[in-house]
């Protein structure tokens, strides 16, 4: 959970930053995005992320896109350091451009891109210069759905549903209860919204502006941002200290 609590004070770590070293590395993130969630549904993959960018505990940016298309068959979603994510997008742009330039009928699928990212993330951790992100990669190629994730030290896996950060605590239990192989698009969106609503209530870095993306065999859509309906006039919300008396 390192990512969810960015520092306000830089951390001195002798192993990572010797005083005479001129090399710059990410020792702690600056602007971070919170959870991303992805799931498989009947026709492909759905992903959701909000658009907040936190600077420590300040929500500094409110319209950061954290889901992008990669090549013809893949979607990437990221939490963690936004600048590192945008750097990763540049790597992927180069990769996909190079792949297209062959123009030979072969193309990188989601599995290939996920593996590439795992290698990139792991190599950077080996150099003690991590890309400070948790990534989700989903896609469909040749009728094969793929959904995987990788974190900043290279730990990776595939599953029917994945989530980063707080999503792992709050969204995945919901997904484990409600996920099915043959989920329709509408059902999938409903589950994702349920997860995002829980996160919105309980994750202080979450903002109520989110984007859903879908990818199928022949279609990629990143939908325009929208807000969830929320209810804040519960008695416990209006007078939070009533049920938690203290000396102050």
């Amino acid at each position: 959970m390192m990512m969810e609590s960015p520092a306000s004070a830089p951390v001195e770590n002798s192993l990572l930053a010797s005083p005479d070293s001129a090399i710059q590395r990410t020792k702690t993130p600056y602007v971070t995005g919170t959870s991303v969630i992805g799931l498989k549904y009947k026709d492909g993959i759905l992903m959701v992320a909000d658009m907040g960018g936190s600077y420590g505990s300040t929500i500094r940016y409110k319209s950061v896109q954290r889901i992008e298309k990669v090549g013809k068959h893949s979607l990437i979603g990221a939490s963690g350091e936004i600048s590192d994510f945008q750097e990763i997008l540049r790597y992927l742009d180069d990769l996909v451009l190079n792949d297209n330039m062959w123009d030979d009928g072969n193309s990188l699928g989601p599995k290939d891109i996920h593996n590439y990212l795992v290698r990139v993330m792991y190599n950077r951790r080996n150099k003690f210069n991590p890309l400070w992100n948790n990534l989700i990669l989903g896609g469909v190629k040749n009728g094969q759905k793929y959904l995987g994730t990788v974190n900043m030290i290279g730990v990776h896996y595939e599953d029917n549903h994945v989530a980063t950060g707080f999503g792992n605590h709050l969204a995945r239990p919901i997904l484990r209860d409600e996920w099915r192989e043959d989920l329709s698009f509408e059902e999938g969106v409903k589950i994702l919204e349920k997860c995002m609503r829980v996160l919105l209530y309980r994750d202080r870095s979450a903002v109520n502006k989110l984007q859903i993306a879908k990818i199928t065999e022949d279609d990629v859509q990143i939908y325009p941002p929208y807000a969830l309906k929320t209810v804040w006039n519960l008695a416990a919300f209006q007078n939070p200290s009533a049920s938690a008396p203290g000396s102050w």
């Binding site: 062959w102 030979d104 009928g105 072969n106 990188l108 699928g109 599995k111 290939d112 593996n115 590439y116 290698r119 040749n142």
Partner: protein, 274 residues
């Protein structure tokens, strides 16, 4: 000894716009013992003639597995062929390390051709003396490529390189139109017939040839001797169609007399194969 004043190094052009050293390296390919390749929609077959240097020695390996989905057959300098096969193996391993998927055949062939090309443009290098038939399978289907020392590469339905390969080409030119839809067995049969054409009457046996297959659901592998012999026996019974000595003087494609040609087929391996 020298043919002319423009052939002493690789990078010198002749007034006619030719690079003689590069052309000589392509002669090396013609002198190696034959290798052929042919492909259907789903399979590629590579086959080669094995010539021993002497009665006392075994023959050199001319077909190499590169990866589960790619193999090569070579003609020319076997030592160069081995180096290039090793390069191709490394490239395949590196690609699948990064992407956990097989390297597309066409891309490997371009990398290989680029590597060969560099040798035609550096004064301190020499071109490779080997031609490679690269057969493989990827998501766009089965492919057969020919890579030559000049850095050129071509995709083929069927092709033959090496000494007396013209006979095999003539045979395959007559039949290639049906190859695309051929079954694995029919393709093997055509491979054996084409290979026999290069032998100039010498009897085709499993001990003087190597056959390899790659195809859908079938990783690249060299067929073992017994399998090859039983295929030969089987086809010998069915098809006596192509009289082996059909073309006796088909050889001189380049117009240059080749010393090897005058000799009986069973002797005089090309010097660069030793």
């Amino acid at each position: 000894m020298f043919r002319n004043q423009y052939d002493t190094d690789v990078t010198t052009w002749s007034p006619a716009g030719r690079l003689f050293q590069v052309e000589y390296s392509m002669e090396a390919v013609k002198q190696g013992s034959a290798a052929i390749g042919l492909r259907s929609k789903t399979h590629v077959i590579l086959a080669s003639v094995n010539k021993a240097n002497s009665e006392l020695s075994s023959h050199q390996k001319k077909i190499f597995k590169v990866d589960d989905h790619i193999g090569v057959a070579i003609a020319g300098l076997t030592a160069d062929g081995r180096v290039l096969s090793r390069y191709m193996r490394t490239e395949c391993i590196n690609y699948s390390y990064t992407y956990e998927s097989p390297l597309p055949v066409g891309r490997l062939v371009v990398q290989l051709a680029d590597k060969a090309q560099v040798c035609t443009q550096r004064s301190w290098k020499r071109p490779y003396g080997v031609g490679l038939l690269v057969g493989g399978l990827d998501e766009s289907g089965a492919h057969l490529y020919y890579n030559c020392p000049s850095g050129n590469y071509f995709e083929y339905q069927a092709f033959a390189i090496g000494s007396r390969s013209q006979a095999a080409k003539t045979y395959m030119e007559k039949k290639f139109e049906s190859f695309d839809g051929s079954s694995r067995e029919d393709l093997l049969k055509d491979a054996l017939f084409a290979l026999r054409e290069t032998l100039q009457g010498e009897k085709l046996t499993s001990s003087i040839c190597t056959i390899a297959v790659v195809g859908v659901g079938e990783p690249f592998h060299v067929l073992d001797k017994d399998t090859v012999q039983s295929l030969i026996n089987e086809f010998e019974l069915v098809g006596e169609e192509a009289p082996p000595a059909e073309a006796a003087d088909e050889q001189n494609q380049g117009g240059d007399a080749q010393p090897g040609d005058q000799q009986p087929a069973d002797q005089g391996p090309a010097p660069m194969e030793m």
